[in-house]
């Protein structure tokens, strides 16, 4: 064993010890809080504050301890992160507020169709391991645009890549900032804006001083917190419901009960398609492909833009497919194409996202990089493997104890969540005795849409309900309310599954499942605070990694490599640091209006990465003949086709191929990008001898950072 290998192993052992103590400390601390809550009656608000502030103080401490002035440490953590720890850091980097809080909610809502996300966001790591990680580590520079610039010989390709990286990362980081604000608001009751500022200062203390080095070691701590916080509540729920402490294995029982309850409650129905005679669609949690297409999200997004910014845009006409009025649009339910396209885009996009790719620059060698992807996926897998269990247990409990019950007899937690506005009970019976003008928001929307009419016949200023009667033309009446939505089922006071809405106005859909688990299981508030700390860790760690990408794209790729190659090391560090602050401030400003469009754009980022970075990096490594003009044509062409399909289908779902939604648009951009790279490369000059040597060198697994840097500097001489 060489001296450096020995010091590396000492380093690894020391890290394992520190983080081991840390894990024990976190669990011990949580137990202490639990005792204080149960025995001493510590107020929940204080528990929430202690959890959030203590974890943030911890991240800040790691950030300050890891402060650095060295360029290698600032951009790539000194390239000495052992595979296992890089795996944890990648896990935290990857799993965002959406994975932590909304993933299980998506599965809860969509059933099988939601699994495209589970497979997509894990299967991408196989591509990363087999096709990208070892070669990028061998390349061993600072950014992904670095690779594009060196391999495709020129600053044009580099700048195009840098701009793509900035756009993708900025939307992504904005979504994290929204998540931070919402978690702070919900668990410690501060104003959303203050939550955003508090959270962002946590991010900044860490990434500003220590760049990638600080981000890496904070992310490891954040991973430990987020995975502990994710696994404990569902394990408790599993013990309570099935008597078995491994939820990942025991939720088969929940799936069985869900299917039985769906049959009992008439939710599992085989219905004929309204437009394609003889085609049957089965509804329910297990049956696949039963989601239609709709542009409801686009309609809402335009309305939100109008109210937030005082604009006067015309929202697109609402359109769903299948549409009985337009049978020619067909019925794509029951076909797997949308599912497969979405899954493919998520996989290819995962492998092409810059903030994940740069994590593989931080390991010491090519050999470690291969192992590191394995550990990354393993740590991500722990959460994704568990999300379906969360969803299934929650679905089971909702069907068993909530749906089909009298509203007055619902379990206590449902009422708490309804009064917090986290869930909405849309049975019209809740209107009985409500003062006119004080109806809940969803009722006001119905009144505005003229599907509900309220007349105060007895003039007491309140809504009084009576027996339901059919008044023809598809309308019903029950006392002082009437209209198309007044059906017998909606005024009977029995909660149906489709009357259980979620607080969509909050901007986070489906957060109910993970957040409500402690309440469903009757666990103390401390567990809820732990979940909040976990969600915060997930959002902050992802935001940290993204800020480094944005800062390095501007300070390294655009400024140093393109504008001023003679810039001193000091200037580059100072510029990198200031760009982190600028990016954070821009993200905070973008997050303030809480646009639903932001979450949408994050979903689109995968399709965009799948049709730009993925094919360019892939062919750059595996096809020597690919050249600069080909890469530029491929990136632009792929992106153009993807955006074209995306925009058209988003606004008007009648524009589709095989019923594939805008979320899977990358599936059309990718082949176009590949064809363009191949055709344009073959029509233009083959890459220089130096570049071909570079590709040969990438394929040789012996790490040689000095040799590689010399080779690259020679190819891109300072101007």
């Amino acid at each position: 064993m060489s001296a450096s290998a020995q010091s590396q192993s000492v380093f690894r052992n020391r890290l394992a010890r520190y983080y081991g103590y840390f894990t024990i400390g976190f669990i011990g601390f949580s137990l202490l809080m639990l005792l204080l809550e149960v025995l001493a009656g510590l107020p929940t608000q204080i528990i929430g504050w202690i959890f959030l502030l203590l974890t943030m103080a911890l991240y800040a401490t790691i950030g300050i301890l890891s402060r650095t002035k060295l360029l290698d440490e600032y951009y790539v953590a000194g390239r000495n992160v052992p595979a296992v720890f890089n795996g944890m850091a990648t896990g935290a980097d990857w799993m965002s507020a959406a994975s932590f809080i909304s993933m299980a909610g998506t599965l809860w809502l969509l059933g099988y169709d939601g699994l495209a996300y589970i497979m997509g966001w894990t299967g991408g790591y196989v591509l990363l391991a087999l096709l990208f990680a070892p070669y990028l580590r061998k390349f061993g520079q600072y950014t992904i645009p670095d690779f594009v610039g060196a391999r495709f010989g020129g600053n044009t390709a580099r700048v195009v890549a840098a701009i793509c990286a900035i756009i993708v990362s900025l939307t992504y980081v904005t979504a994290q900032v929204v998540g931070v604000g919402l978690i702070m608001q919900r668990f410690v009751g501060v104003d959303y804006t203050i939550g955003v500022i508090l959270g962002l200062s946590g991010v900044l203390v860490c990434s500003f001083l220590g760049g990638m080095k600080a981000v890496t070691w904070t992310q490891v701590a954040q991973y430990i917190i987020l995975i502990t916080a994710y696994l404990i509540p569902v394990t408790a729920l599993s013990i309570q419901l099935t008597g078995f402490p491994i939820p990942q294995l025991s939720y088969g029982q929940a799936l069985q009960r869900i299917q039985e309850l769906e049959v009992q409650q008439g939710l599992s129905k085989k219905t004929e398609s309204p437009v394609v005679p003889g085609k049957f669609i089965t509804s329910g949690y297990i049956p696949p492909f039963n989601e239609g297409l709709s542009n409801a999200a686009a309609v809402d997004a335009v309305k939100q833009l109008n109210t937030q910014f005082g604009l006067n845009l015309t929202p697109p006409a609402a359109q769903t497919i299948p549409d009985p009025k337009k049978p020619e649009l067909g019925d794509w339910r029951g076909t797997p194409w949308n599912f497969l396209a979405l899954m493919a885009c998520l996989m290819l996009g995962t492998a092409g996202l810059p903030h994940i790719l740069i994590r593989f620059y931080t390991v010491p060698s090519v050999r470690e990089s291969r192992m590191s992807v394995g550990w990354s996926l393993f740590f991500i897998f722990l959460l994704y493997f568990t999300a379906p269990a969360y969803a299934a247990f929650s679905r089971w409990q909702i069907l068993e104890n909530v749906v089909g019950k009298q509203i007055s007899e619902l379990p206590g937690w449902t009422k708490t969540w309804a009064s917090n506005g986290l869930i909405v009970i849309r049975d019209l019976k809740v209107l009985d005795g409500v003062e006119i003008g004080k109806e809940p928001g969803w009722v006001k929307n119905l009144i505005n849409a003229k599907s509900l009419v309220v007349e105060d016949a007895n003039g007491n200023g309140k809504i009084d309900l009576g027996e339901w009667e059919d008044i023809g033309e598809g309308k019903g009446r029950a006392g002082e309310i009437s209209g198309t939505v007044v059906t017998k089922a909606r005024v009977d006071g029995i909660l149906q599954l489709n009357e259980l809405g979620r607080a969509a106005a909050d901007g986070i859909d489906g957060d109910l499942v993970v957040l409500s688990t402690p309440d469903i299981a009757g666990l103390p508030f401390t567990i809820g605070a732990m979940i909040a700390a976990g969600g915060l860790a997930a959002a902050l760690s992802t935001a940290d990694g993204l800020l480094v990408v944005i800062a390095s794209a501007i300070a390294h790729d655009i400024y140093f490599r393109t504008i001023n190659p003679k810039a001193s090391l000091n200037t580059r560090i100072v510029l990198g640091k200031s760009m982190i602050v600028v990016a954070a401030v821009i993200a905070a400003l973008l997050a303030m209006p809480r646009l639903a469009l932001i979450a949408q754009m994050v979903a689109w980022a995968f399709s965009m990465a799948a049709s730009t970075f993925f094919p360019v990096v892939l062919l750059g490594i595996f096809w020597k003949r690919a050249n600069g003009p080909g890469a530029i044509a491929g990136m632009i062409g792929g992106l153009a086709v993807t955006l074209f399909y995306m925009a058209n289908n988003y606004v008007n779902p009648a524009f589709n191929v095989l019923g594939i939604s805008h979320l899977g648009a990358g599936i059309f951009g990718l082949p176009v990008a590949i064809i363009l790279i191949v055709v344009v490369s073959l029509l233009t000059k083959e890459p220089s001898k130096e570049i071909q040597d570079l590709v040969d060198n990438l394929r040789n697994p012996i790490t040689d950072d000095e040799g590689m840097s010399k080779m690259i500097d020679k190819m891109a001489p300072a101007k």
């Binding site: 096709l131 049956p287 379906p388």
Partner: protein, 93 residues
Amino acid sequence: MSDLTKLPVAERNRRYWQENLRLITILLVIWFAVSYVPVLFVEALNNIVIAGFPLGYYMGSQGSLIVFVVEIFYYAYAMNKLDAKYGLSDRDR
């Protein structure tokens, strides 16, 4: 083993790369077979129920994920062996 490390450099690298490509192809075929193929047959697979899990649903929610993790670790292991076979082992750090 020793004969491979003594090959001319270009020939050695070419053979090493060919073996690597073969391994990648095999693993990608498995990757495709556990994620995309079961989606096409999900309804039929759902008729098979193991420990409460309909098989089609299970492949999407957990089955394919297990294979993904195993595949990546296997690739790291197999490539370390391949590196050694061709005398291209990365130096220990």
